[in-house]
Amino acid sequence: MQFGVLNFEASMIKQVVNLSWKSFVRSPAFSQNLGTTIIMGLFGLYFAFIFLAMGAAIPFAFSDSEEIIEAPNLVGGFYLYGLLYILIMRVVFQNFGFPLFKQYALQRIRKSSIYHYVLIRSIWHWMNVIPMLAIMAYLIASNYSEAFQLNIFINGVVMIGMLYLTNYLAFLIDKYLDINKKIVGSVLIVLLVLTFLDAKGYIALLPIFKQTYAWLTSSIVIALLPLLLSIVAYFFSFRFLKDKAYLEDQTEVTTADMLGVRKGLFSRFGKVGTLMELELKLIMRNKRSKSQMTMMCLFMFYPLLFKGESISLLLFVSIFITGAFALTYGQLLLSWNSDHFDLLLTRMSSLKEIFTAKYYLQVISIALSALITILYGFYRFEFFYLIPIAALFNIGVVTFIYMLMASYNSKKIDISKGATMNYEGLSVGLFLIVIPIFIIPIGIMLLANYFDVYEIGLSVIALLGLLGFAFRERLIDVCVHLFKKNRYKIGAAFRK
């Protein structure tokens, strides 16, 4: 009898799995964007390979005979350190929604089956699979290293246990504590600063993680602790779903913010200002744009990763950090408005005003990013001149590449959905955009380096930017003209 119930449960879970596989394969994004899907798949394989290789390389990375005795604990310490980051990132970025509920709520599928499905499915979340690959490669490879000694079973149990504890803990933190994501975001920044101090040797965080890991692997009983805790977390997550998972809890009604109150800031600039204000509200009030912008904030820390590299590489970094916001916004330039595109097309806003507003929004974001990131000059003095050059290049060249590409990238996006692993609206063309953005300056710098005149290389890049900005009106006209030719196609794609 008991067995029959289990069987029933299993067949229902199978049913749900089957349906969600179909919803994946038959979704318009899957078939229409086959090119993108393939590229994303290749990226996935590439990352899988990288992580497998990374894991497998670890046991062979230690040569010092003194060091190697402590090595497994050091690796474990780093692992726990990393999991802490992963936990916070998941709480901030992961969308813990249950897209399946609406269809299934009224079907003859037991609710508990759906909840189990949702929770078990998370095992295959890419944030779990990728570390899992590295762990497996690491454990297997350690078998082949003579000097590197560790108990595969105990270490495996601890690492996997901690991974799934993180998985369900992230869910519980998101659901039970209901913390403002901004607060978690600032915790992340604090942690980044602490890590930086740790790396510079002012504080010692790593040893704490190392000792914790050593304790966890000290005996088989303790080693089972993380796994047990993750099972407990699983059941708390299940309880949460059972008690709270009603549709009305899933749809949140927000009260309007006060963005519209400070009038006059933009109205000074006429219709272009009005349109810019609209874009700002769009970015601040929609999930996709908001989370994408938050992710871009993290890239602002990019320069800290570089030490003593060439000017060309630092220029590349500068272009990236001053243009991070423009990149996020510009690559989906018109798609952001796909929900209300017909209004923009038919009301008194002329196409030129729309493009002008979008151009200046990017210019402002680049100028602001440059103002902030120029402070990196105190870290590496080269940034004092590289950041302004990069900003000019972004303002005069990169933005126009986005605006020209916009006429060819007509993909509808749902801005109310989160951005993590969401490649709706992306296309092969967008991957190609990135090429000229970085090829032009890198090509110029390589040439300049070859003749040993890198000052001239930098001046040429800055000049290109200046020229683009000087002829902005003409360039915007070109973009508008191109758009006009494609407007029916773009409109039709947005209306789908």
Binding site: T255, A256, G260, H340, D342, L345, M348, S350
Partner: protein, 230 residues
């Protein structure tokens, strides 16, 4: 002529969805476009608004081809579907946005909005809610009133009565009737009764063709009702 369809053909591949040799709309008319699902009402409106490209022929607004000249945008207001609403704004912000594009001042807008308080029924303005969080019916009201902002000469409304409750339908009809000398209306519906209540002229579309086009009288309405009774 204010609006004119000239030898219009719209087809997708070999499938012709709209074929209008000539349809002229004069200033001050209130034209009701009636037809069953798939008759071509929305296609006709989309052509008027230059949202889709005509396979053949032209749509002229004040004598100018809408697909070439952008002038019509200054005197045309439209609500076809939810792509005409910006759902992350509050209704006030939405109206304000359109008003600003028409260079209206704050005062002009709030005076103008007062006349719609009956239709809004206290559920739209000052709710401190985004449009996306309003009910479908209230979203529709926002879209319809949005089309009227800027006092456009031409107002195009696609299925304005659908998904509204009967009280609101009546209020909307009264509103349209009270503004008939301010705008030229083009209103579509699959329900002849709604259109007959407000229009001065009724055009029936079927399978992309105009099959009846009459000034509204008791007689013609009876005729048309008989047509739909099949």
């Amino acid at each position: 002529m204010l609006l004119e369809f000239k030898n219009i053909v719209k087809s997708y591949k070999s499938n012709t969805v709209l074929e209008i040799d000539s349809l002229q709309i004069a200033s001050g008319e209130c034209v009701g476009l009636v037809g069953n699902n798939g008759a071509g009402k929305t296609t006709a409106f989309s052509l008027l608004l230059d949202l889709i490209k005509a396979t053949e022929g032209q749509v002229l607004s004040k004598g100018k081809d809408v697909s070439i000249d952008e002038d019509w945008k200054h005197y045309t207001g439209a609500f076809v579907d939810e792509t005409f609403i910006i759902d992350f704004l509050t209704p006030e912000e939405y109206f304000h946005f359109i008003a600003e594009l028409h260079n209206w001042s704050e005062g002009e807008l709030s005076n103008y909005l007062e006349q719609f308080s009956e239709l809004f029924n206290g559920e739209v303005l000052n709710q401190n809610k985004y449009i996306r969080d309003l009910s479908k019916g209230n979203q529709k009201k926002v879209g319809i009133i949005g089309a009227l902002i800027g006092d456009p000469e031409i107002v195009i409304l696609d299925e304005p009565f659908a998904s509204l409750d009967p009280t609101t339908q009546n209020r909307l009809k009264n509103l349209i009737k009270s503004r008939i000398d301010q705008h030229t209306f083009l209103i579509s519906s699959h329900d002849l009764n709604h259109v007959a209540d407000v229009s001065s002229r009724i055009v029936i579309l079927e399978k992309g063709k105009v099959i009846m086009d009459n000034i509204k009288t008791e007689e013609t309405v009876q005729q048309m009702t008989a047509y739909f009774d099949v």
